[in-house]
Symmetry: C2
């Protein structure tokens, strides 16, 4: 007897990354109280620009609706309101991707759905992730007792690892533009992964949370690749696109063609969501829909451009210093090589102690992150420029 708790939870490693960063900053602050105001945080993975005015307007209008019996909304559809699903459907048409409304599920964010999707599979399957990696992919699989395999990214492949047909996996996690490296797959790269997945009857879990940063002809969605609807689920979010990290809305696409062992994953996900979810707040869905209005699009673009300007400042600095990096162009993340062969925590300490700038050590994202360092574009123009000036001074070039 005795309750059978899921013992796989014990196998999840506590992430010390952000706790360790906080601890080192705290210690530095105690020793440098006179310099505390000069600290610049370039490790932040959260947006800082406020919600667009058009979104705030929609939030307030929907709140008013909820205060009147005639326009009050109770339980909504678990898979989201049609008014928002249709906007997303139209958005995908911009990349020539045709989705059925029924394939689009509104969520409270990509992280929830990336975790909950594992409900649809057996415990104990094999997941392939890239290294470095967003830790959630690893931890959610460990919690299920799944086996994890790593596809190593590095300078040699531009931090865009390609499939190895001798490796067998059930689930394949791809994030493009990537967190933490900012690297983006082109069509040929994604096509190779689609071919690999289809050849072995695997499912790609495609995290498109940063697609709004993509420029030019690079793919925004994996469904731009022929055959992807037969093997991929796509997760996206309004978090980075429209500053919704604290407002919470995203969407997941489960194509009808995803059928395994005779089971439609779309129908299974619909069943999962209708049983274990009650939909996203009506008010928040109205706010998300406002993102797609002409004025909404204009305003979110301004915010994205603001962050991109910061990324340009970082890239120009690294270029002038002759430092290798990925990202920045199609991503709010710049993944730089630590100078002079330093390991990532030593560089962290050096930056903090000598020029009072905080970033994120690459080693925190996996073995292959050692020797690299993540800077983000989510600070202000002023602070980003100042931090880069200090970096130039530090490296004395």
């Amino acid at each position: 007897m005795g309750m059978k708790v899921n013992h796989h939870y014990q196998e999840v490693k506590e992430s010390y990354l952000f706790a360790e960063i906080s601890k080192r900053i705290r210690e530095w602050q105690e020793k440098n109280q006179d310099k505390a105001a000069q600290l610049i945080r370039m490790g932040i993975g959260d947006v800082t620009r406020p919600l667009p005015k058009e979104v705030v307007k929609a939030l307030k209008a929907a709140s008013d609706e909820m205060g009147v019996a005639e326009s009050f909304h109770g339980y909504g559809p678990e898979q989201g309101y049609d008014f928002l699903r249709e906007e997303i459907q139209s958005y995908y048409k911009k990349f020539s991707v045709q989705l059925e409304k029924e394939e689009i599920f509104i969520s409270d964010g990509a992280k929830s759905d990336l975790g909950n999707i594992l409900d649809l599979f057996d415990r104990g399957i094999t997941a392939l992730v890239t290294d470095p990696v967003y830790p959630v992919y690893v931890d959610t699989n460990i919690m299920q007792g799944n086996k994890i395999l790593y596809a190593r990214a590095g300078e040699e492949n531009g931090f865009l690892p390609m499939p190895d047909s001798s490796v067998k996996a059930d689930l394949i996690y791809l994030c493009s533009p990537n967190n933490p490296t900012g690297a983006v797959y082109d069509r040929a790269g994604l096509a190779a992964w689609v071919d690999y997945a289809r050849a072995q009857d695997a499912v790609i879990l495609f995290d498109a949370a940063y697609e709004c940063f993509v420029e030019g002809d690079l793919p925004h969605s994996i469904y731009e690749i022929p055959g992807a609807k037969e093997c991929a689920i796509e997760f996206c979010s309004f978090s980075k696109k429209a500053g919704f990290t604290g407002t919470r809305c995203g969407y997941t696409v489960v194509p009808d063609k995803l059928v395994f062992s005779g089971q439609s994953l779309r129908k299974m996900w619909l069943r999962r969501q209708t049983t274990k979810f009650n939909g996203v707040s009506y008010i928040v869905q109205k706010a998300a829909a406002a993102v797609f209005t002409e004025q909404g699009e204009k305003e979110i673009l301004e915010n994205i451009q603001y962050y991109k300007e910061n990324a340009k400042t970082i890239m120009a600095t690294l270029d002038s210093l002759g430092i290798y990096y990925t990202g920045g162009k199609n991503s709010p993340y710049v993944w730089m090589k630590c100078p002079d062969g330093m390991d990532s925590w030593s560089f962290f300490d050096k930056l903090l102690n000598e020029v009072y700038v905080v970033g994120t050590p690459g080693a925190g994202f996996g073995e292959a992150g050692e020797g690299f360092f993540r800077l983000t574009a989510f600070s202000t123009h002023e602070k980003t420029k100042e931090a880069m000036e200090r970096l130039k001074t530090l490296l004395g070039r």
Copy 2:
């Protein structure tokens, strides 16, 4: 080879209850277009009163905050903001229940957490539910490949089944006030369940979604019972309390004393939520906090009283007709015995065809629901009174 989908999803029975009700209403409407306007829906399980003004005010103020960089909120704590957890902590003190803030987790609703909590346990364990039952308890367990046992409720036990020590279970679902029966356990009843759970090292999943309807000395929380913190997780929601069915906020209490096989369920749940959830919208949490202000409490009480007035109308009618029922007093649900020994679908048809009133057949909630019928208090005063007049006419007493 081939993807190992969770085949337990195939074992979930499609619920035809609400689909069948819709179909019969549609057929009736087609045949009775002249009477369509007279239809009264007493089967509705959703609130109809708008959000309290104080809540709308909070929603709009928080929306404005989000539109300004200085007061913008990005990612919040996955377990919820302290300002809301502290309000809930204070609320429990009204029932003399002392909770640590860390034991309270803000969620987007009880349904999500009731489903997701199964992550903490092995697949294939045994869940005990009462019959009749809220279908979500059954379906979420079937999806995990868990075994389901039923504790039969009926007239003989006032629809409040007591534990049978010869039955072994890992999880025990209790909902009090109950959906669909409206029956409420007293302290002695809950104490018997707590003793039973502790004797066999089981966990009670206590659904308190309707606690705001409880009057007098009956328990609002299972933690009013000594020993419950050693065996129970409690799920609650602002849905029925404050009309949040479309706004989405709830909370789950996982006490620190819940330790099984050396594992703290609170720590496991914290790990689960930080890995697979990103917290509830800041705006919605501010709205939920407004429920606890003096003005907020006054307004939600007015709404609850409004529904209770409807329940009284229903109860008075059934009393005058000499029909057995449970609920109504501490619940928005009245669970009536079908007159003249009718089965629940026959009574549904009779009510619909002869007096144009819709309710929910008890058989839809499980075998033990046969011969019973659920009426809800969520309609307007006018319609509720009219429906009850028609019921009296129908039964000719």
